[in-house]
């Protein structure tokens, strides 16, 4: 039984490790810290999988959110330690793609290419929320966009990306 469970985790890692690594890496922007976080995330998956409730959503979504939350927690704590303040959203809007462009072109079709045909407002929201881990209300407050608009923009952006990814 124990062997089988480990096999299941190895299966999950083989299938989703790179996807989750990509998610965390884009938030953290540092390979060593990302590896550390991904290791923690899989230990969490191992420990918490009994509490995963398939009625509330897909297994991947659950793992995705564990990863995003762990990555966000990591950069928040580090940023606070380092500088005592969080970067304002405006400052690093499009810096991530430049920093990560090397890795991004390695796997898949690349974020830049995927995001290329989103309209400016949608790209911004996806960048901040999906790839950088800002919360909806943070974006709303920092950029002075109504919360409802943030949500609906994220929706139209994600459904657009969904169509592109499935091609």
């Amino acid at each position: 039984m124990k062997g089988q469970d480990k096999e299941a985790l190895a299966y999950l890692y083989n299938k989703y490790g790179a996807a989750l690594y990509g998610v965390a890496q884009r938030i953290i922007k540092n390979d060593d810290v990302t590896s550390e976080v991904i290791q923690d995330v899989f230990l969490k998956i191992w420990n918490k999988i009994p509490s995963y409730d398939s009625k509330k959503g897909r297994l991947f979504t659950w793992m995705l959110n564990l990863t995003r939350n762990a990555a966000i927690d990591k950069i928040r704590s580090k940023e606070i330690k380092k500088s005592g303040k969080t970067d304002s959203v405006e400052d690093n809007v499009y810096t991530i793609d430049q920093q990560n462009s090397a890795e991004m072109s390695v796997d898949g079709i690349g974020v830049k290419e995927l995001m290329g045909d989103l309209v400016e407002e949608q790209r911004f929201i996806v960048q901040k929320i999906y790839f950088e881990g800002y919360t909806h209300s943070e974006i709303s407050k920092e950029c002075d966009i109504p919360l409802g608009t943030v949500k609906s923009r994220l929706r139209s952006a994600l459904s657009h990306l969904r169509k592109r990814v499935r091609k």
């Binding site: 469970d5 989703y16 490790g17 996807a19 991904i38 009994p50 959503g57 979504t61 796997d107 929320i129």
Partner: protein, 268 residues
């Protein structure tokens, strides 16, 4: 509640990305339980997130996987020290594994059902297709028949309307009979066509035979059945003075059986 509006508000995306307050989450969960189309949309959103993450994956350092698995082994060892904790820990994990297995079994079942379903549909489509083909062939042959009849009628009309053809009416020979037939004869080309108006039914062994009287002698113009429709081309003849029809044994005779003459008519 307008479901479309609810969906387009983007709240399901926010839910999927864990971006809602716990109060809002409960609201979404209530809605999901009520409306299956919301559940389907959420599922599509989650599949999209998964596809997006897989598409933008970044290969982790090669030793990361091994390091994770070895850490789990380290943690498992003390956990397995007491039998009680072991049972508690294993039970739910097994259930997740069982969930994965159940999902794959369900998938296999769905796939074989679909295969069977498509096979059945394919077969019934093939049957329908074969039936359509048969119908089509039948229609084509009926069309050909009709077309041939039409062509024959057109030919007949041409002959009837052609002033070079002379109509010779043959009336009943025996008193009391009302048999009639006609010959369309072209004296120039010597062509002759027969048209039955009214002749009696013959037995299987008998046929009618057409004769022309030329210079006082009967000339055979061929045999025909009692049920011929339209104009029937007979043998050509020149200088005919009279046409007559006799009943002969099947295949015809060399000389007419005069007692069995049914109709006759002189060229006018």
């Amino acid at each position: 509640m307008d479901i479309k509006e609810y969906i387009s508000s983007g709240i399901l995306e926010a839910y999927a990305l864990d971006g809602l307050s716990s109060e809002e989450r409960r609201g979404v969960e209530d809605m999901l339980a009520q409306y299956p189309e919301l559940r389907a949309e959420l599922n599509a959103i989650e599949e999209g997130l998964e596809a997006l993450a897989l598409e933008t994956a970044i290969t982790p350092p090669s030793d990361l996987g091994a390091s994770i698995l070895s850490q789990i082994e380290d943690k498992e060892a003390p956990a397995g020290a007491t039998a009680e904790t072991k049972v508690v820990a294993m039970q739910p994990k097994t259930s997740v594994w069982a969930y994965v297995a159940a999902a794959s079994i369900a998938l296999a079942a769905i796939a074989s059902f679909l295969a069977y379903d498509y096979h059945t549909k394919w077969q019934s489509a093939q049957n329908a297709f074969a039936q359509l083909q048969a119908n089509n062939e039948l229609m084509a042959s009926q069309y050909n028949q009709v077309n041939q009849k039409l062509e024959q009628l057109e030919d007949d009309i041409e002959i009837i309307g052609n002033s070079d053809f002379q109509r010779v009416n043959m009336g009943a020979v025996n008193e009391g009979d009302n048999y009639t037939a006609s010959i369309y004869w072209n004296a120039k080309t010597e062509e002759a066509f027969l048209s039955i108006q009214n002749l009696k039914q013959l037995s299987e062994e008998q046929q009618y035979q057409l004769w022309a009287i030329v210079d006082g002698k009967p000339v055979d113009m061929g045999v025909f059945d009692f049920d011929v429709k339209g104009l029937l081309k007979m043998k050509s003849v020149a200088n005919a003075a009279t046409f007559a029809v006799t009943i002969e044994p099947k295949g015809g005779s060399v000389n007419p059986t005069l007692e069995a003459m049914q109709v006759a008519g002189n060229v006018g």
